[in-house]
Symmetry: C2
Subunit: 341 residues, 2 copies
């Protein structure tokens, strides 16, 4: 019964504006104008063209259009391979933001650090109108985009050169709040679980926490490093507590590790969280709200950040002379029950 339906399956060649023009008895230019916004076309013309187009199943070829207009209407979004539950949500929201502005998203992921050069090459070849980068990038790559006049907006990372726009969450401020709150509630013995060495976000968070601790006169702080994963959070707590040392609070560089910390503290060491140990995270991912954890954390305002990022990128695409701008959002302070504050 599925042997049928084997007919030619439509014209081998897709209809072009010439085909439509011929059928409608008008010129190709006319067809082109009907399918643009600001172009002038009489009502009669428009109707005839649209009907012919409909009949042929014609769709303007965005590739050809891009060639002549020098605008692909595509932006590249680059994200790192994350052990992190935070970026997928960012990705989805960014895509919706661009979609609303009639811009398509070409997605690139970085499986390895060294892939970045390949990805840069691809983005240049595909003539994306702009780039939204939520992954590591070095100065020379930034320079490549600048010299190619491709607008670039960094997501949660910034360069000192300040030559490029950025949107980020104020990691340090968030950490200061966490530390301040913990300290005010009487915590004194702190441990910090940082993220991967090469994560600038992790560095900002760790530095922010350390700076605040320093301001408060706490100078003995244990710092371990994880890789943002749940497992590494568990492992870190194992390392911290197996020696018999005691802590009042663990500050994890992200929520996934914080959750790992809680599980290890409870499961492996029988500690009550938050009564015997406070644990805080950062990001505000979905699982942080699971009752079993109910993390005290700082939630990145993803909606506003992605909206701002898309808006900034679009502005810079439309006005290449626009100067770089940096937008910093404060994270939302979430008082969960994983810390005594």
């Amino acid at each position: 019964m599925s042997g049928r339906g084997q007919k030619p399956a439509g014209p081998r060649r897709r209809a072009t504006s010439y085909d439509v023009a011929e059928l409608a008895g008008v010129s190709q230019s006319a067809v082109s104008r009907v399918f643009q916004r600001g172009a002038s076309a009489s009502k009669a013309m428009r109707a005839r063209v649209l009907e012919a187009a409909e009949q042929l199943g014609y769709r303007p070829n965005a590739i050809a259009r891009g060639l002549i207009t020098q605008r692909s209407n595509m932006v590249a979004v680059v994200i790192g391979r994350q052990t992190n539950l935070f970026y997928p949500e960012v990705l989805v929201q960014l895509t919706e933001q661009f979609s609303q502005r009639d811009i398509r998203v070409l997605l690139f992921t970085l499986a390895q650090e060294r892939d970045i050069d390949i990805v840069v090459e691809q983005m240049l070849q595909y003539r994306v109108d702009g780039i939204l980068m939520a992954a590591m990038l070095n100065q020379s790559q930034v320079e490549v985009f600048r010299s190619a006049n491709i607008p670039l907006v960094l997501f949660n990372r910034a360069f000192e050169g300040a030559l490029t726009s950025s949107v980020r969450c104020d990691q340090a401020e968030g950490e200061r709040w966490l530390v301040q709150s913990l300290h005010a509630a009487g915590h004194r013995r702190f441990a910090i679980i940082s993220g991967p060495e090469d994560s600038s976000v992790s560095a900002e968070r760790t530095q922010g926490a350390l700076a605040q601790l320093d301001d408060l006169g706490v100078d003995e702080v244990t710092v371990l490093s994880g890789d943002y994963s749940y497992a590494s959070g568990k492992a870190a707590v194992h390392t911290l507590l197996q020696s018999g040392a005691r802590y009042d609070a663990v500050i994890a560089a992200n929520d996934a590790m914080a959750i790992g910390c809680i599980d290890a503290a409870r499961g492996e060491f029988g500690l009550s969280v938050p009564d015997e140990l406070s644990v805080v995270g950062f990001d505000g991912i979905g699982p942080a709200r699971f009752d079993a954890y109910d993390l005290t954390t700082v939630r990145q305002p993803i909606g506003r950040m992605t909206a701002a990022a898309a808006e900034m990128l679009v502005h810079r695409i439309e006005d290449p002379e626009m100067l770089p701008e940096h937008r910093v959002f404060s994270g939302e302070h979430v008082r969960g029950s994983s810390a005594r504050i």
Copy 2:
């Protein structure tokens, strides 16, 4: 100090193959051939061209290439807006798969059901070489792609017409295993929390579970529906248990809801999971492995599924005559500690 660096910022126009040809003192055709795979070019030629290209920062324009070769080297990947932690991982892995095959991914998300038509239009306009669909699609849309000769591979959904390829996890088999195991361990009073009404995956899972229960002679089964979210899992258990009714096992259509069920059972009703209530899920997402839940579930083999999907789509792109194929993978049976089995 950021006032400097305001120099012209490179040539306004990107270098073309003609520019390279001129600088290298050769023809444009020669440049073109140097930048292709199977083309013939002498060593000397290649060297001269590559040097000129390097000097000008030339990159072949993939848009123009696509126009003439009738291949954009882009595929569209469409995902629904998920309350679901499963799809982000699929997306990342698919992107890596295509990337390895030198194919770019144009990402589309569906915020609303009705967006599908807009997205279909976009995919056609951008002349993607193929489409990987992990969202709802109806027969008329499938027909559009078929008549436009665009290969389509469905991810975790299939059509009766069988006119299009698909990759999916055997939802029913997984549910049968769960139900069978629970029943064998003595569970008799079952509740099922299904996903959104319009989710075909949820329908398959629910049907699979019901069918197996029926085979085992269990005919009194409560079925509630959620929306795949953690919150809806909690709400469902609330509804189930507040009446005073008792259950032995709750079968949630996905892990997120299963986790919600566990939290509600423990937190709201003080039940011990799994001693007083068994809870099982489906998907095998990261949080399912958190110690606090350690879900008994069926893990979809994402790696193999995405690899298969990418491979099938690429094959169909390279050989349009290839007949549709369906690949069904069994899920991995994960015996966690959220169920007494």
